[in-house]
Subunit: 240 residues, 2 copies
């Protein structure tokens, strides 16, 4: 069941499991492909599994009545998708969708709940992760209120980058616009700014980061705050 070329413990939560739990989980865990755009869970629906992305990135996206949307938070190899399962609510008001194709692992809902209810290290690990996620959501709220699109785009690129290996993203501006909850044209303009400044280069849905330092400079404080909080709360953070 476990593919050699694809180590579950690339996911940092899985990596942080004590040996005892890891042994139990190994037989239950299942590798999955996560293609771009896949909806893991529709808003208001109950999850069948929790997901541990390894190379994929997942967005928590709120879709409004009129169709407009906004990303609430993003989950990569540092986290888990489906916290509502152990938080007790079963469902969320947001949609869970794969923002960057890749792989991950999943665990049946029932198994996850049982593990959580052992009230041991798994519980504490997951709750600390949840708090980090809460910080990310808070910061998203603040950022939406106060920062320019340029700054937000930087933050978003950096958050995505931290959850991938390498310095490239596959993302159309249209998609980014959906995530940020802004116009596609706005993203075009901001991306142009960044490109002109020599920070990124892109073409047809492929973005290459040229100057990460520069992006961090140009980003709002939100990125650093979130990153620092993940570092503080979790065993280790995605490689820079």
């Amino acid at each position: 069941m476990i593919d050699e070329s694809h180590d579950p413990r690339t996911n940092l939560l899985l990596a942080a499991l004590p040996d005892a739990e890891w042994l139990r989980w190994q037989s239950q865990i299942e590798a999955v492909d996560m293609p771009l755009g896949q909806v893991l869970c529709e808003s208001g629906r109950t999850l069948s599994h929790v997901y541990f992305p390894t190379t994929a990135i997942v967005s928590l996206l709120y879709v409004m009545e009129n169709g407009a949307s906004a990303e609430i938070a993003v989950v990569g190899n540092e986290g888990i998708v489906g916290i509502s399962l152990f938080m007790g609510g079963e469902s969320t008001t947001s949609r869970t969708v794969v923002q960057s194709a890749g792989q991950g692992f999943r665990l049946k809902a029932k198994v996850m709940k049982d593990e959580f209810d052992r009230a041991g290290p798994v519980l504490h690990l997951l709750l600390r992760y949840t708090q980090a996620l809460i910080t990310q959501m808070s910061q998203t709220a603040v950022c939406n209120r106060h920062h320019s699109l340029d700054q937000q785009l930087c933050r978003w690129l950096l958050l995505s980058l931290d959850r991938l290996q390498g310095d490239e993203l596959n993302m159309t501006q249209e998609l980014i616009a959906n995530m940020l909850g802004v116009r596609r044209e706005g993203v075009t303009e901001s991306a142009l700014n960044l490109q002109r400044a020599g920070l990124i280069r892109y073409a047809r849905g492929h973005i290459k980061i040229l100057d990460r330092e520069g992006l961090e400079q140009r980003s709002c404080e939100c990125y650093e705050v979130v990153r620092e909080e993940y570092r503080r709360l979790l065993p280790s953070t995605p490689a820079r």
Copy 2:
């Protein structure tokens, strides 16, 4: 220690405790006054207590480097202040401040943690509350992105109203502006709109709600979503 005229179980989480836990807590719980503007916990600091507001309202406020601020969520008699204590992070990136003066109860951090770690009904109750709070934060992010100040003001008034008894608020427009993360003049204008429409009446920091129906109509969907989620996740919600 317990003041007759002030029933702890006005707080809905306390009210939802099973008898066994309630008996244990009764001797530990302490009544506190919560004056307007009191900072229960500064961002990044560790809480000494968790708070259960009864008649007070508390805001989770993020204050940026440049001094601008934005409310992340609001907690009243339906909730608890200090979730980071049991989530495991000890501190939050946001400041906790009393937005509407009133009373509440508190419990020492250590006691709270021990109770949580019993991994019984208290844990599940608090986690469900936390998920409701997460929904509120998400919705704040979305609302900040997409909705007009008029709509947001309605949402904010309604959320506050749900956490108080009666139909009056004591709140200057300046304060509301800080919470919403907008200009004071903007609030003046929106408040005027609502007043002209006959929905509210106010003067010098005192707001009276005249037409709650109307406020709900004029509000964005965010209010209803949050309220519905609180209803779904928690034993009972603040009286309407």
